[in-house]
């Protein structure tokens, strides 16, 4: 597998907690990767290690085939933190220029790219405005532009859609797809599951500093499916108790059933046909990521985390 980023046994311990506790995974080049987890799971700490802000206490990071070097590799990474900020009093154009130059672009290069992106996002008139004059959504767009300006190979977006209206959210979403198509790898950290389901190819779920789930969205859904099916009939019918399945819910023409162990989905169909019921549609019911997330994280006392002690 051609991995752009591969983490092995990454650890970061604070005095009162294991923020990241032995995490390993790979991220494929050009993929959109979702890093999920409840608040305080250690996502931000993990991202800060990937961006070189924190040194790991243990483990290794391989970026683009080479051990991660925070000083050299800065230009390969674009990071948009969750709590984002800009200089309020600085002009927007100058601000973008300054941050792009800090990433290592020359002034001419940076100016050209800023102009390209500002045009693309219809922000040309903003150049001489100050950030304090922008709305939250507008500064979010600006922040996104600043993150991707230097064409990083790895783009890390922490909750990129919070505060955006659907129109602007779509604009950013389209851009994320575009960037991935052009070969950039995107790490997408959020706890908004419907966005992950829509955008991400591959996800990792973290809780209490540990990885508890790793795989493609479809695989994970398969893994957590409960052999449930949705049956639509042409009219409301009665279904008797039987050995093949249990009726989970029955609302008018829509029946949700759970197949008992030892039976296949075709056994349900056979039974229904025997009963002379007219079937309009028959689909497998896959769990949503939201259900899986809640199922896995519930009852782990994630909220009591701050009081856990580290023994080492």
């Amino acid at each position: 597998m051609d991995a752009l980023l591969s983490l092995s046994n990454l650890k970061k311990y604070y005095a009162t907690q294991k923020a990241v506790d032995d995490i390993s995974f790979d991220i494929k080049r050009g993929s959109i990767f979702g890093l999920l987890g409840p608040n305080g799971a250690g996502k931000t700490t993990l991202l800060r290690m990937i961006t070189g802000i924190f040194y790991p206490d243990g483990g290794s990071i391989i970026l683009d085939g080479q051990p991660f070097n925070p000083i050299e590799d800065i230009q390969k990474i674009g990071y948009m933190p969750e709590e984002r900020g800009l200089y309020k009093k600085m002009k927007i154009g100058e601000q973008a220029l300054y941050l792009a130059q800090l990433k290592g672009l020359s002034k001419a290069e940076a100016t050209e790219k800023i102009k390209y992106w500002f045009k693309k996002f219809e922000m040309e008139t903003w150049w001489n405005k100050k950030v304090e004059d922008l709305s939250k959504g507008m500064s979010q767009k600006l922040q996104f532009v600043i993150t991707v300006l230097h064409e990083p190979k790895l783009i890390i977006l922490d909750e990129p859609f919070s505060g955006l209206d659907p129109l602007n959210a779509n604009l950013i979403k389209e851009e994320i797809y575009n960037l991935a198509k052009k070969g950039a790898t995107i790490i997408f950290s959020t706890h908004r599951m419907e966005q992950v389901e829509e955008i991400c190819d591959h996800i990792v779920l973290m809780n209490l500093g540990k990885k508890i789930l790793d795989g493609s969205v479809t695989d994970i859904k398969q893994q957590f499916k409960e052999n449930s099916f949705v049956i639509q009939t042409d009219q409301s019918v009665g279904i008797k108790e039987n050995a093949i399945f249990n009726t989970m819910s029955h609302i008018e023409n829509k029946i949700i059933v759970k197949i008992n162990p030892g039976y296949q989905s075709n056994d349900v169909l056979k039974y229904l046909l025997q009963e002379n019921i007219n079937i309009v549609s028959y689909n497998e019911l896959l769990p949503s990521l939201n259900d899986i997330f809640i199922h896995l994280v519930e009852n782990t006392h994630a909220t009591a985390r701050a009081f856990q002690n580290v023994q080492n």
Binding site: I53, I71, I74, Y79, E83, R84, G85, Y98, L102, I146
Partner: protein
């Protein structure tokens, strides 16, 4: 290195281009001059006139009490404490019957209370009147007394420093003035620019832009860029002030009548002596020459060189500490107040020592305070004004400079370690104990 330069540029230009900087730079000297002028004016015009009625049973100092433009004494008859205001007097002074060599109470009653200065001046006047009266009683004539009084103006002390074979005119008053002014200036700039660094760091932290920048540069680079950039703003401001003062003085000199200007030049060429037979120098020309001459007795290159060194050194020493405090502050700016306390205390304390040292540059406390980097920028400037090597020996100056350099390297290192943890930490109240833990734990 390239990135630190970018940060310095931004910190510098965003402040220098700011309107507030320009206003402060050009209004501050005017404001200071205005304040001095205003207080001088007030001290002249604000003086009240006192018309004092004197009840003198002996009639004995009537001739010796002298009127001034503030106080006039009269000796009316039929006056007492009940009617003096009706008769147009502000105060009444009641003298006891006089006995030789005995202290007595002289009573002054007023409707409006009298300031301490005025009271003292009246008391002095009475005492010298008594003295004069006693001398006259002993048979000394008034004319002799007057000539003795004027003798107190005869001696004018001119001090010289011995430097090997040659000696140089020294001026303690000027040294004190320079020492005090440069100490005060360094004290103020430590506060102003230190607080500016702290606010800048706080702004970056609370705006959360620190995290964006730190994913591009190292925290230490960000901190140093800010400290150096703001320091450069300070130096620019000084430079502009110096240029402003020099040009204002030369403009002011240009307004002098041409004959006075000519006389001043002649005095300069002839080292203060007017060639006999030629025109007599006017009083104002002599005054201007004397001011210029006094100012020229100071070793300006040394003082300016030391000032720049101690300004930069002291600034780096304190600015790093202010940056560390700024990095630990959360949303609430009031947290900064309590954390700043351990930094502002030594600053204020050094300022107090500086005030002492300007009068007495060679006490042990002056020596130690000029070596310890917490206070050396201010205290050493106050001492250097008295001359090197006459007041401060070369090794003392060198030692002070070396400890200051070592000091700011240490505070920068310490603050760098506090800063890199503090700048990304939110929602936790930080104490000095925690900051020391960050600074000295190994990681």
């Amino acid at each position: 290195m390239n990135k630190i330069w970018l940060i310095i540029q931004r910190e510098y230009s965003s402040r220098v281009k700011n309107k507030r900087f320009l206003i402060l730079t050009f209004l501050m000297p005017l404001l200071i001059v205005g304040l001095i002028a205003a207080s001088a004016y007030l001290s002249i015009s604000g003086v009240e006139h006192r018309n004092i009625a004197v009840v003198d049973p002996n009639g004995f100092i009537k001739n010796s009490l002298k009127n001034t433009n503030q106080i006039s004494f009269s000796f009316p008859n039929n006056i007492d404490t009940n009617n003096y205001t009706q008769k147009g007097y502000t105060d009444i002074l009641i003298l006891p019957s006089f006995e030789k060599n005995k202290k007595a109470d002289y009573i002054l009653r007023s409707k409006k209370s009298m300031g301490l200065m005025l009271q003292e001046s009246i008391s002095n006047k009475i005492n010298s009147a008594i003295e004069d009266q006693m001398l006259q009683d002993a048979g000394i004539k008034q004319s002799i007394l007057d000539s003795i009084h004027s003798a107190s103006q005869f001696a004018e002390l001119k001090a010289y420093e011995d430097k090997g074979k040659s000696s140089k005119e020294s001026n303690a008053g000027l040294a004190m003035g320079i020492g005090y002014a440069s100490g005060l200036l360094i004290y103020m700039t430590m506060f102003i620019y230190g607080a500016m660094v702290m606010r800048g760091v706080m702004e970056e932290k609370t705006n959360r832009i620190a995290e964006v920048i730190i994913s591009s540069v190292k925290p230490f680079e960000l901190m140093m860029g800010k400290i150096i950039g703001i320091g450069a703003v300070g130096l620019t401001q000084f430079l502009l002030w110096i240029v402003l003062i020099i040009s204002l003085t030369s403009v002011a000199m240009g307004f002098l009548p041409s004959d006075i200007q000519h006389q001043v030049t002649t005095l300069q060429q002839s080292n203060g002596q007017m060639a006999g037979g030629m025109m007599q120098a006017s009083e104002s020309a002599v005054k201007i020459y004397n001011i210029q001459h006094t100012i020229n007795t100071a070793n300006w290159p040394l003082i300016i060189g030391c000032f720049i060194f101690y300004f930069i050194g002291g600034y780096l020493f304190y600015a790093a500490l202010f940056a560390a405090v700024g990095s630990t502050v959360n949303e609430d700016p009031q947290d900064a107040q309590s954390l700043m306390f351990p930094i502002t205390m030594p600053l204020i304390f050094s300022y107090i020592i500086t005030n002492m040292v300007t009068q007495n540059p060679n006490t042990p406390i002056a020596f130690w305070a000029s070596i310890i980097p917490f206070s050396s920028p201010m205290v050493m400037m106050a001492r250097v004004a008295y001359g090197v090597p006459s007041a401060v020996s070369y090794w003392e100056l060198a030692l002070s400079m070396i400890t200051l350099i070592a000091g700011f390297i240490f505070t920068t290192w310490l603050s760098g370690r506090i800063y890199r943890t503090g700048i990304l930490l939110y929602g936790k109240k930080v104490t000095w104990k925690i900051m020391f833990k960050w600074a000295f734990k190994n990681s």
